[in-house]
């Protein structure tokens, strides 16, 4: 050690051996060597300086331990090995301090080198130490060599090293990989075989492969494969060769194979991958075949596929909507035509999520329902739910019965949800309509202005009843509603209504009645209520009979009134009949009296006449006075007889129905004219008779009628001209019937006229002349009793007709006779 102070040149000289040398050079120069046991570099032994110089300037990673503290020196090349955040900078520090974490490991080596002087060399040695913030597994190839001091003793250890971590790791990995690979090959349930070369020598094979062809590993190892299973060589070798030569892998799926094993055959299905097998240098020397036995799966798969197809087909053809959604996201997996029609979408929905396809269901709770079924596995069923769907750009209301049921995957977990539905929109709307219409009907019933009630079921329970009906029943609403009608109205029982209602309810045939009396106990008394009522079958929209609809009109007032009137009428009729009877009896008596009287009167009259004639003989001829008196007696007697006779005839004019017959008036007129032949000839009269009808009449009386009229016409003829009597008949016109005093204006009549050109009469006497004994002329001028026309009138009246006369004095008279026409 020098004692004299350094000059700067000396200093420079002194550090010349550590000039440059990068970072470490700088750090080494700047280190405060005074504080270290080595002292300042100027004092260092030459060997140290030399060695440090070599280390610092070497391009190879080097490290130096020097001195009893094993003070550290290293170069830039060594820096990487120290990493960052670790030991660097370590120059000048004692070795133990720097390498504390591995001191246990390296210290023996260092000691050994220090003591023996024999260097140590390690290749790929694991010396992990703290670096880059953590303990790293570092592999080194390194040597520790002794570093001699000036005195020839070992003063330190010279380290050269380099990291071989990557290589080592690779090698390790390779080894691991190789081991793993072998294990894998051995254990994997896939058949693996590595075939080398054209001959397809089996280099690697596992048991799984062996099982596929029922061979042991030993039977296959190192053998040409086609020696073992030649039967499939033709099929598979070309493929293998292709892979081996081109390096392109081949994939086979569900590939069938059949090999011989002993005296049996093994068949199955494989998924196969043929890959080129490369050596470490990358050359393809063979083929690695990975064979997965999918025989079972194939069969299962086939079954599954078949069942899947079946399911698909069922779903597809189902006439109601079905959708299958998988996953929580409810991805639409399967849909049928029906559901697509409901959604108004096409098959493009498959693969999309439910929420994406039906966004309009947001907020309706349906997404949540699907999710809850997927989560809990509890199916959900809804009936008559309103669901608004977007159809043709518009939200339209639908009603569905729908279900979400969980679907399970092969692993037993819920894989999705099946959605079935039935579109009950029409049904719902129809039901609503029906309900509405039922409500309307009920309202109508309640508001109807006639009594109405609806009775349901076989017990005729009062379902709806309006106030009019309650009034008829005399009951309060709350007393009857909901009760069987014959419970609510026990007073209506056993009057035949139960049977009527039963018939209507069972057969559906309506029953109607007018003025049907029912005894009801109302307001504390028994009333007879007359009703026009109808029982109709009350049906639902299918036509099924639900009950009975009763509509009723209380006609009691009318009926009672009518009954009263009828009673009165009956009474009056009775009275009338009695009166008639009395009348006819008295008429009869009168007739009888008249008959007897006239008959009895005739006798003395006759005798007077006869005896007075007999007396004639005894009158002295010339006794004019006696003759005259006698003549007067005779005349009077004659007149008396005629009168009596006429009265007798008049009194005998009965309406004896037994003598009514069909009378041809034409024929009758012929006879009458015949009767008056003498007189007609005498007066040179002309009788013109048109065709006359046939009527129902008493022939004798008709003779009398027309006889009297003809007789009158002849009697009252005008001497200055030829008497012409015209007889005609026409049907009476409605106006005539209306205007004239015919007994029955509803009948048809014949209008017969007997007209003459005689002396006529003043019309003012037109009525009078029909009076009995009425004469318009003195008996000297025209003979006649005056009964003739009265007789005519009585006869016409007897026949239900009417007679009147019209005349102009001096010009003739026309007698009009209306007689009823025959009813065919």
């Amino acid at each position: 050690m020098s004692t004299y102070s350094e000059s700067s040149e000396t200093q420079k000289d002194r550090f010349a051996f550590i000039a440059g040398a990068g970072e470490m050079g700088q750090l080494t120069r700047e280190f405060n060597w005074e504080a270290s046991p080595l002292g300042p570099p100027g004092d260092w032994p030459l060997s140290l300086k030399t060695t440090v110089g070599i280390v610092l300037h070497s391009a190879f990673p080097m490290f130096l331990f020097w001195g009893k503290d094993l003070t550290c020196f290293y170069n830039d090349s060594f820096l990487p090995s120290l990493g960052v955040g670790g030991k660097h900078p370590a120059v000048g520090k004692p070795g133990r301090e720097v390498w504390g974490d591995i001191w246990e490991q390296i210290s023996p080596w260092l000691t050994q080198v220090m003591e023996t002087g024999k260097p140590v060399f390690f290749e790929d040695q694991l010396v992990p130490f703290y670096r880059n913030g953590r303990k790293e597994e570092i592999y080194w190839t390194f040597s520790y060599s002794p570093a001699y001091g000036d005195d020839g003793t070992i003063n330190g250890i010279f380290v050269t090293c380099f990291e071989t971590t990557p290589k080592v790791k690779s090698l390790d990995r390779l080894e691991d990989a190789s081991r793993q690979f072998h294990n894998l090959v051995r254990d994997v349930p896939i058949g693996i075989v590595v075939l080398i070369g054209k001959e397809k020598i089996v280099r690697i094979v596992n048991e799984s492969y062996g099982r596929l062809i029922d061979r042991t590993v030993d039977e296959l190892q190192d053998k040409p494969l086609w020696d073992v299973i030649p039967e499939v060589a033709a099929e598979f070798d070309p493929m293998l060769e292709g892979v081996r030569l081109t390096g392109n892998p081949v994939y086979l799926y569900d590939h069938p194979y059949t090999v011989n094993a002993g005296d049996k055959q093994i068949s199955g299905f494989l998924n196969v991958v043929y890959q080129p097998f490369r050596e470490a240098d990358g050359t393809i020397t063979g083929v690695m075949a990975l064979c997965q036995d999918v025989t079972v799966q194939m069969r299962d798969h086939k079954k599954v596929k078949e069942s899947e197809l079946r399911v698909r087909s069922i779903v597809e053809s189902a006439p109601f909507p079905i959708g299958v959604y998988t996953g929580r996201e409810m991805r639409i997996e399967l849909v049928n035509r029906s559901i697509m029609d409901v959604w108004g979408k096409g098959y493009d929905v498959v693969g999309r999520n439910y929420a994406e396809v039906l966004p309009e269901l947001e907020g309706t709770g349906i997404y949540q329902q699907l999710d809850s079924v997927f989560t809990t596995g509890i199916p959900i069923h809804f009936r008559n739910q309103r669901v608004d769907l977007m159809v043709d750009g518009q939200l339209q209301p639908f009603y569905f019965n729908y279900s979400f049921t969980p679907l399970y995957g092969p692993d037993g977990n819920i894989s999705g949800v099946m959605n079935t539905a039935a579109d009950v929109t029409d049904l719902h709307l129809a039901k609503q309509k029906i309900e509405q219409s039922e409500k309307n009907f009920r309202n109508m019933v309640l508001q109807a202005p006639v009594a109405m009630c609806i009775l349901l079921g076989p017990d005729h329970i009062i379902e709806v009843v309006n106030s009019d009906m309650l009034e008829i029943w005399g009951k309060a609403h709350e007393h009857v509603i909901g009760r069987p009608v014959f419970d609510a109205l026990p007073d209506a029982k056993e009057q035949g209504l139960e049977l009527l209602m039963k018939q209507v309810y069972e057969t559906g045939e309506s029953f109607a009645a007018t003025e049907h009396p029912v005894q009801l106990f109302r307001n504390g008394q028994w009333d007879t209520v007359y009703q026009n009522f109808v029982y109709d079958a009350y049906r639902d929209s299918d036509g099924t009979i639900l009950g009975v609809l009763a509509i009723s009109v209380n006609v009691t007032p009318q009926v009672l009134a009518r009954l009263q009137i009828e009673e009165i009428v009956t009474q009056r009729t009775h009275e009338l009949a009695e009166a008639n009877e009395n009348l006819s009896r008295s008429n009869e008596e009168l007739a009888q009296f008249a008959y007897i009287a006239s008959h009895d009167l005739q006798e003395p009259a006759r005798k007077v006449s006869t005896y007075s004639q007999m007396l004639e003989e005894y009158i002295k001829p010339g006794d004019e006075r006696a003759s005259g008196y006698l003549e007067k007696i005779q005349n009077a007697a004659d007149r008396m007889l005629v009168l009596i006779r006429d009265v007798l005839a008049y009194s005998q004019l009965t309406r004896d129905a037994t003598t009514v017959t069909d009378v041809s008036l034409s024929k009758l007129m012929e006879e009458v004219v015949g009767d008056f032949e003498l007189l007609i000839e005498q007066k040179q009269a002309v009788v013109n008779c048109s065709p006359l009808p046939v009527i129902r009449a008493i022939p004798l009386q008709m003779s009398q009628l027309f006889g009297n009229l003809v007789s009158n016409s002849l009697k009252f003829s005008d001497g200055r001209r030829t008497p012409v009597i015209t007889i005609k008949a026409t049907p009476a016109t409605p106006e005539e019937i209306k205007a004239l005093a015919v007994p029955d204006k509803n009948k048809a009549y014949h209008h017969i006229t007997v007209a003459d050109n005689g002396i006529g009469f003043a019309q003012e006497y037109g009525e009078q002349i029909f009076n009995i004994f009425q004469r318009l002329h003195g008996k000297k001028a025209y003979e006649g009793t005056g009964i003739g026309l009265a007789t005519c009138r009585k006869i016409v009246q007897n026949h239900g007709g009417h007679i009147y006369a019209s005349s102009v004095k001096g010009e003739g008279a026309t007698f009009h006779i209306l007689l009823p026409a025959r009813t065919e």
Partner: protein
């Protein structure tokens, strides 16, 4: 002479007187047999007290009337053949028909005057 004996059954004496007077004028030779009662006439005819070739019969008589007499006469063979002319005041057609049915030959209404009486008898007897 067609009818030598003419019986007249009539309860009325006056009618019988008139008849007789007329008959006298027409044919005085005829035997006029008046009987007041039909019953008596029947009796007397039956026991042959009386005989007649022609009977003029009134109808309205007490005890037995003309219709009954006609009925009775027919029951007896010996009397049945005697022609009966009903001579009555009645002009009732049913009566006329009935007596004809009962066997009367004719029906004549008692005339109202004497001259007619003569005519009737003349037409019958001559």
């Amino acid at each position: 002479m067609r009818y030598p004996r003419i019986m007249h059954v009539d309860d009325d004496d006056d009618d019988q007187e008139i008849f007789q007077t007329a008959l006298q004028q027409v044919n005085p030779s005829v035997d006029y047999v008046p009987v007041n009662s039909a019953l008596a006439a029947l009796d007397q005819l039956l026991n042959k007290e009386l005989e007649a070739d022609l009977i003029f019969l009134d109808l309205n008589m007490p005890e037995m009337n003309g219709q009954q007499f006609l009925t009775e006469i027919r029951k007896h063979e010996q009397l049945r053949g005697i022609p009966v002319i009903v001579f009555s005041t009645s002009s009732h057609i049913p009566t006329i028909e009935l007596v004809k049915e009962l066997g009367a030959r004719d029906f004549i209404t008692k005339p109202a005057n004497f001259k007619e009486m003569i005519q009737i008898l003349k037409s019958i007897l001559l």
